[in-house]
């Protein structure tokens, strides 16, 4: 039996690359992601990744890192990169390129607040800021889940029904630098779950591959050898690939559980004590894991409460969430992020998703823990209790301000605003 080892989240990601037999890695270090890159380069240097002849490409920036893996992926290699916050922002243009070219790039985000003001600590703003580039997006709660989700991501991204790049996002420091037990699987077992990549890019046929021809006109190009799609059709197929991803993700989750004996709900969301719950917390990543203890404590007080921890944010699993929330009458959303000028991103996404539901619950959103402000169970319990007591207050339902938990404005001599 393979023993568990005690490692950080960053190292769990690096081990996953090794297990997956990644062939080309290019990454530029940034806090708190750096140890991922360092560990992979150690593996390569020590000859521990010779089986896949892994190449570690040193680059001078994040933009070059993602460019290098896009190029390698286009030649049919399994590739990996990782970044955080401002480094991720610097990749933006090429992230769109990876998705538009339908390349199965897998990338980790060690989540960190975006400057300014300068911060190295966690929030989810960086991951959500690349919401619409076309990547699939997953959030995880533990180091084991980082390792497992990277493996699952390769299988999903490389499926011919999908061919989309994927993010695996975990909280900087909170997971990236925290040691936890992680089971590293045997290569043989991994290859049972994750087949060899069958590259789909045909570099000899420039006309039909998005991203390779000089420019794609708005309309079809009519050619004697056959018509080629316009930009619009390419983008339609990207949306279809996202829609196809759900069944592929569920299959991958089922097979993963069968082979390795570990599961994360249906691969789309994880329900905790949700079966009979009238109140459901909705959160991702560190906020979701903190909420588990909160559910236990509030259950002891007699509250019928549970948690829906969202694993898959893109594609957004609307159908699944309508089902998951069908019996709740109150949903409390904790966002470690904010859509500036509106409200928490998860809050407005879930509101839109549940809008056509027959018995749609009251949805109350709170902002928590931006820039690494510690989120305590008491913070979350306070939010739930506030949401419960004000549930039927029409003025609160109609209010358009955003609630922040854990602000310390009074200690700064400010008057508390927004209420």
């Amino acid at each position: 039996m393979v023993k568990k080892i005690v490692i950080t989240g960053n190292h769990a990601a690096a081990y996953a690359c090794k297990s997956a037999g990644v062939e080309v890695v290019a990454a530029y270090p940034i806090t708190p992601q750096s140890p991922v890159v360092e560990k992979i380069s150690e593996f390569v240097e020590a000859g521990e990744m010779t089986k896949s002849n892994t190449q570690f490409v040193c680059v001078e920036s994040e933009q070059s890192a993602i460019s290098a893996v896009i190029a390698a992926s286009a030649t049919g290699c399994r590739v990996f990169t990782a970044s955080s916050a401002n480094g991720l922002a610097y990749m933006f243009e090429l992230l769109c390129w990876a998705a538009g070219s339908r390349l199965p790039v897998v990338m980790c985000i060690a989540m960190r607040g975006l400057g300014a003001p300068w911060t190295v600590w966690t929030d989810h703003q960086d991951a959500f800021s690349v919401r619409d580039v076309g990547f699939m997006q997953q959030f995880v709660e533990s180091n084991q889940e980082i390792y497992d989700t990277v493996l699952m991501s390769y299988r999903i991204a490389e499926d011919p029904r999908v061919y989309l790049p994927a993010f695996v996002s975990y909280d900087g420091y909170i997971l990236s630098h925290t040691m936890m037990p992680v089971q590293i699987e045997d290569d043989d077992k991994v290859s049972k779950f994750l087949p060899t990549l069958k590259p789909h890019t045909d570099l000899t046929n420039m006309g039909t591959r998005p991203g390779l021809n000089p420019v794609t006109p708005p309309d079809l190009t009519v050619r004697p050898e056959g018509n080629t799609p316009g930009y619009y059709e390419f983008r339609y197929s990207m949306q279809k690939a996202h829609e196809n991803a759900f069944e592929v993700i569920e299959e991958a989750a089922r097979d993963f559980a069968k082979i390795f004996g570990r599961s994360y709900g249906n691969g789309i969301y994880k329900a905790y004590k949700a079966d009979d719950a009238e109140i459901l917390i909705f959160a991702v990543a560190s906020v979701a894991s903190e909420s588990r203890g909160v559910v236990d404590r509030l259950r002891e007080e007699g509250l019928k409460i549970g948690l829906i921890s969202l694993k898959l944010f893109r594609p957004f699993p609307v159908k699944y969430l309508r089902e998951a929330f069908s019996k709740a009458n109150l949903v409390v959303v904790f966002d470690r992020d904010i859509g500036y000028g509106y409200e928490g991103i998860l809050a407005y996404e879930i509101k839109a998703a549940l809008y056509p539901s027959e018995n749609r619950p009251i949805i109350r959103g709170f902002i928590v823990g931006l820039g690494g402000r510690d989120i305590t169970p008491e913070d979350l319990i306070g939010g739930v209790k506030k949401a419960v007591s004000e549930k039927d207050d029409r003025n609160v339902q109609l209010a358009t301000h955003t609630d922040f938990i854990g602000l310390k404005l009074d200690q700064l001599g400010f008057k508390k605003g927004g209420n």
Partner: protein, 195 residues
């Protein structure tokens, strides 16, 4: 779940002590679930630092810093002040690297009437005696402290501690010295329990 805070100064290896403790907990097979993390500052050499460690027989889901711990370990007495005592749960224990005995520590600091077990060991002296020094000729105390922990009510044996130290640093003469220091610390530790 047992919660532990380790205080030290940047460069002393408080964070590493937490990691070795987590490893030893896994090896003990009494605590299959662990998490160990620093206080996530941008640490500087010489500045007071904190590291956190949770060990449990059930999955650990909280990621918050530890406000009050079952065990507070202080590697450097110069960072030990009364506010550190507030971080120990009532019924918990303090493990302090000092030349003084627990009774004197209780007199010297403000414990009030709080029920806190005090454990002391002179880890600095042990390190000097064994010439267990780092590159800057500072005494190494973050491994020997595992010996003291093995003597506490945490179910980690001296054997687990030794194995965890060896796993972390690999086999070498220096590692043997660390292991020896942990053994000496276990022998010399003084425990004053409070009824």
């Amino acid at each position: 779940m047992i919660e532990i805070i380790i205080y030290g100064r940047g460069g002393m290896g408080a964070v590493t002590a937490g990691k070795i403790l987590a490893e030893a907990a896994i090896l003990s097979e009494n605590y299959p679930e662990v998490s160990a993390f620093p206080s996530f500052g941008t640490e500087r050499r010489g500045a007071p630092v904190m590291a956190f460690c949770r060990i449990s027989d059930e999955p650990i889901w909280t990621r918050a810093q530890i406000k009050q711990a079952d065990y507070v370990i202080v590697l450097d007495e110069t960072v030990f002040e009364d506010h550190v005592i507030d971080r120990i749960k009532t019924g918990g224990a303090l493990i302090l690297n000092t030349w003084q005995c627990p009774e004197d520590v209780r007199k010297k600091y403000n414990f009030g009437n709080r029920k806190i077990t005090i454990v002391t060991a002179d880890l600095t002296q042990i390190a000097f005696d064994l010439k267990l020094l780092n590159r800057e000729n500072q005494p190494i105390v973050n491994t020997s402290v595992l010996g003291v922990i093995a003597k506490s009510s945490i179910k980690i044996s001296l054997e687990d501690a030794k194995n965890a130290i060896e796993n972390k640093f690999g086999k070498s003469k220096k590692t043997d010295l660390n292991v020896k220091a942990a053994g000496m610390a276990a022998e010399q530790a003084l425990v004053e329990e409070v009824k």
